[in-house]
């Protein structure tokens, strides 16, 4: 199989995921009548704006009402509100796809905009910073510790990590975060309880960056704590599986130093399955980010999700559900490319 073919197959599934989520979103919204409500809200908001501007040119109230009525009909037709919901599905899909979801009820960006897309894009970088940093730290610790464990299978540390990784299957990320707040912020007063900047925040760029790092320690610690056990364990198992292969024994028999056997023979071969387990853990990391941001009041998309739920804001929840799927699909695709780079059997 060529690279292009592999990527197409993997890409097709991911594209299918995107389409499936879009369909779930629009069909649910349409069938429950929520989409009507959202569009009607958009119509009346547009009408309110137009009334203000028209009132300055059209003085006669009767005529103004008449003009507005015709505008309203135009808008209803434009949004397809004169047709049943299932005939509007293509429009609805495009609307979700382009995040054209109108305004949030009460949530505002820092600049005061209430547009759902602007709200989401304002929070996007914060989430990406948090998740990628945590993933990178987890990956490094996991690789470093996992390889060392594989060398000392059955040691006390090895067994401890095995149990810890099993236990982390049962550990809710948000509860872990709350406990960290209780210990490090409330009891010991070492770290901030949440947010991203201190109030007042430092004025110079360097101070600002330090401030963000300062606030990011606990959320990142939480994300790392819940995933590092399982990840270390899977690295250890993959390395162990490869280390039992005959070509490794052959390499050792040739008299190669252990470090070279580990790097060139074992790790090189174990890399693709390790990448696979990173891929499989991604959905969990995103879910963990939603909850961890909520706990630490970290102004990312996950916290926005929580705020959207609390303010009963359908448009925000829809936009975020879709956006998280997009991020997931894009990240998955990048990891698939990484997999191809790592696994020569796919390339040639």
């Amino acid at each position: 199989m060529g690279v292009a073919r592999v990527l197409t197959v993997r890409g097709a599934t991911l594209f299918g995921v995107l389409v499936a989520v879009l369909l779930i979103l629009v069909v649910t919204l349409g069938a429950t009548g929520v989409s009507d409500r959202l569009l009607n809200a958009q119509v009346s908001e547009t009408l309110r704006e137009q009334r203000q501007s028209l009132a300055q040119t059209i003085r006669d109230p009767d005529q103004l009402e008449k003009v507005l009525e015709s505008k309203k009909q135009e808008l209803l037709q434009f949004y397809g509100l004169d047709r049943p919901w299932y005939q509007r599905l293509p429009d609805a899909i495009i609307r979700v796809f382009t995040l054209d979801l109108g305004s949030a009820r009460t949530l505002r960006t820092v600049g005061g905009s209430s547009k759902v897309s602007e709200l989401i894009f304002e929070r996007l970088p914060n989430t990406i910073i948090l998740v990628t940093t945590a993933l990178a730290i987890t990956a490094i610790i996991g690789l470093w510790v996992g390889v060392r464990l594989a060398v000392k299978v059955g040691s006390r540390l090895d067994r401890a990590v095995s149990y810890l990784s099993a236990a982390s299957n049962a550990l809710p990320s948000w509860w872990t975060g709350i406990i960290f707040i209780l210990i490090f912020s409330v009891q010991l007063h070492l770290l901030p309880i949440g947010g991203i900047f201190s109030a007042p925040s430092p004025s110079d760029i360097f101070g600002k960056v330090l401030d963000v790092v300062w606030h990011a320690i606990l959320p990142i610690l939480t994300l790392v704590a819940i995933s590092v056990g399982g990840w270390t364990y899977s690295v250890r198992t993959m390395v162990l599986n490869t280390a039992q292969e005959e070509f490794v024994t052959a390499a050792r028999a040739k008299g190669l130093p252990e470090s070279i056997v580990m790097r060139r023979h074992i790790l090189r071969v174990a890399a693709p399955p390790i990448a696979t387990s990173l891929i499989l853990g991604l959905a969990g990391s995103l879910g963990g980010a939603i909850l961890t941001e909520t706990v630490f009041n970290w102004p990312g998309m996950g916290r926005l999700f929580y705020e959207g739920i609390l303010s009963f804001d359908e448009a925000v929840v829809v936009g975020l559900t879709f956006m998280f799927t997009v991020i997931y699909v894009v990240a998955r695709f990048l990891l698939e490319v990484l997999y191809i780079v790592l696994d020569p059997r796919v390339r040639y």
């Binding site: 299918g16 429950t32 099993a166 049962a170 909520t294 359908e314 998280f324 799927t325």
Partner: protein, 475 residues
């Protein structure tokens, strides 16, 4: 593999044994709760603030007293339905109800409240007098009350406080405050004005004596006498209750609206088990069925099932779960349904490959040659081979379901009619209990979520050697 040997294998491993014991504990507590709690506990008790009015707010557990030098007041609820003493007068009879308590705390109670239920009378309205008697034998009339007489057209016997009992928060009652002000002036020789008492509360004075300019807690036996004067032999009084509010309460403390956390947390046991077991069982049924159909029948059905499960398997679960729970309303069964709908494909993919392998084995071929029907081959020859694996997967699905429900509850999407551990944590988080350090509200429900999830993980780990024969040989 036979069922008995699976259990045997499970009990051979350490984690299997521990997991089984944990599971029995969970089952035991759940049976107790289901047997003793009303089914509408969530709506009738947990979400009803009136039920918790007599409980202290945000009180830590009683056993925290052991950790500090200062002994805090324990919450006491004293009930009486029979009079301690009956005094006969010329035209009346007085039922005296005496509540006694040995008070040894280093701080006054947080509240005193009095509740009266079920009064029946014929001629005249009964009169209530509440006396407060201190260990130093000083006493005062704290509160007097006349049961409201008949309204126009009301016929004897007249019944009062049967539907809703009369509750008097004595510590905030205006007449009690002025009674305490008088008492302080005449018996203790300390002048306090009522405005100050209203602000600071009367309990500090009621439960202490002045010593060198400031009040010192008076320890000893306190008594509260409630005298009910009845004017007809047929008159009766149902039950009385006196609550001494403490700053500590029960085994697990209370939350900020006074709910006994132990009660809510106990209710969480059967709910968590229900979520875990129902979701995992149904998911396994759907997943195994789809996997067998896909693997055994092949063809277009196979392709379709594989494509669908491939896509569902790759949808990030939490965002879509949030969305569906948000739109379809917060209903536990909706949550369980969605969890099933998105988690069956994992099992299907693996089942299919197992079935494909077994299908080509000789004993299956032999059965087919002998003329066994497809149904019979699947039920008798293929499914039993996969059963241990299916069982292990089923057990692994349970903690995932419990954690998913807890996460949703934490985001405010839990089913309000059924309190769960996740919801208790959510109310603690939302009301800021974390930031003021109400650890007793936060730690136990979280630990129990972990405990329950861990139980299933341990059992699944214990089953591994039974499921994976290669592992059995290695050990």
């Amino acid at each position: 593999m036979l069922r008995r040997s699976v259990v045997k294998e499970l009990l051979k491993t350490g984690s299997g044994r521990v997991g089984s014991i944990f599971f029995l504990v969970l089952i035991g507590i759940s049976i107790y709760v289901v047997a003793t709690y009303p089914l509408d506990f969530g709506v009738r008790s947990w979400r009803n603030p009136a039920v918790w009015a007599d409980y202290p707010k945000a009180a830590p557990p009683v056993w925290t007293n052991l950790l500090s030098n200062l002994r805090s007041a324990e919450h006491q609820v004293l009930d009486k339905s029979q009079p301690t003493q009956i005094l006969m007068g010329e035209t009346s009879r007085t039922n005296v109800y005496e509540f006694r308590t040995n008070f040894l705390s280093d701080e006054p109670p947080t509240l005193i409240s009095f509740t009266l239920a079920g009064v029946t009378f014929y001629e005249r309205s009964p009169l209530l007098n509440i006396r407060f008697i201190r260990p130093d034998q000083n006493q005062l009339l704290l509160y007097s009350f006349v049961v409201p007489g008949p309204t126009a057209g009301e016929q004897a016997p007249i019944k009062r406080y049967y539907e809703t009992p009369l509750r008097v928060a004595l510590s905030n009652e205006r007449s009690a405050i002025s009674a305490v002000a008088d008492f302080s002036r005449s018996s203790l020789g300390v002048d306090v004005d009522t405005a100050q008492l209203t602000r600071e509360g009367i309990l500090k004075i009621l439960f202490s004596s002045p010593e060198a300019g400031h009040f010192r807690i008076l320890k000893g036996v306190y008594a509260v006498q409630v005298a009910v004067e009845l004017y007809d032999s047929r008159d009766s009084v149902g039950s009385l209750r006196l609550v001494l509010g403490g700053s500590t309460f029960g085994v697990l403390g209370t939350d900020s609206i006074g709910r006994d956390l132990a009660v809510g947390i106990l209710f969480g046991f059967p709910v968590a088990l229900f979520i875990g077991l129902v979701t995992s069982t149904l998911t396994t049924l759907v997943g195994a069925f789809a996997g067998i159909v896909s693997g055994y029948f092949g063809g277009k059905t196979d392709t379709l099932i594989q494509r669908v499960s491939d896509i569902l398997n790759n949808i990030p679960l939490l965002p879509i779960l949030i969305f569906l729970a948000f739109i379809f309303g917060q209903n536990l069964f909706v949550i369980i349904f969605v969890l099933i709908a998105f988690s069956w494909p994992g099992l299907t993919v693996i089942m299919r490959s197992m079935v494909l392998q077994i299908k080509s084995e000789q004993f299956v071929e032999a059965a087919r040659v002998l003329g066994a029907s497809r149904m019979k081959i699947v039920v008798q020859h293929i499914f039993p081979q996969t059963a241990p694996y299916v069982l292990a997967q089923m057990i692994f699905l349970a903690p995932a379901a419990i954690l998913a429900e807890a996460a949703l509850s934490f985001l405010g999407l839990g089913d309000p009619s059924i309190p769960t551990w996740g919801q208790i944590l959510e109310s603690g988080f939302r009301s800021g209990a974390v930031y003021v350090g109400f650890w007793w509200w936060i730690i136990p429900p979280g630990l129990l979520i972990i405990f329950t999830a861990m139980t299933f993980v341990l059992i699944a780990l214990g089953l591994e050697p039974a499921v994976n024969p290669r592992l059995r040989r290695l050990r």
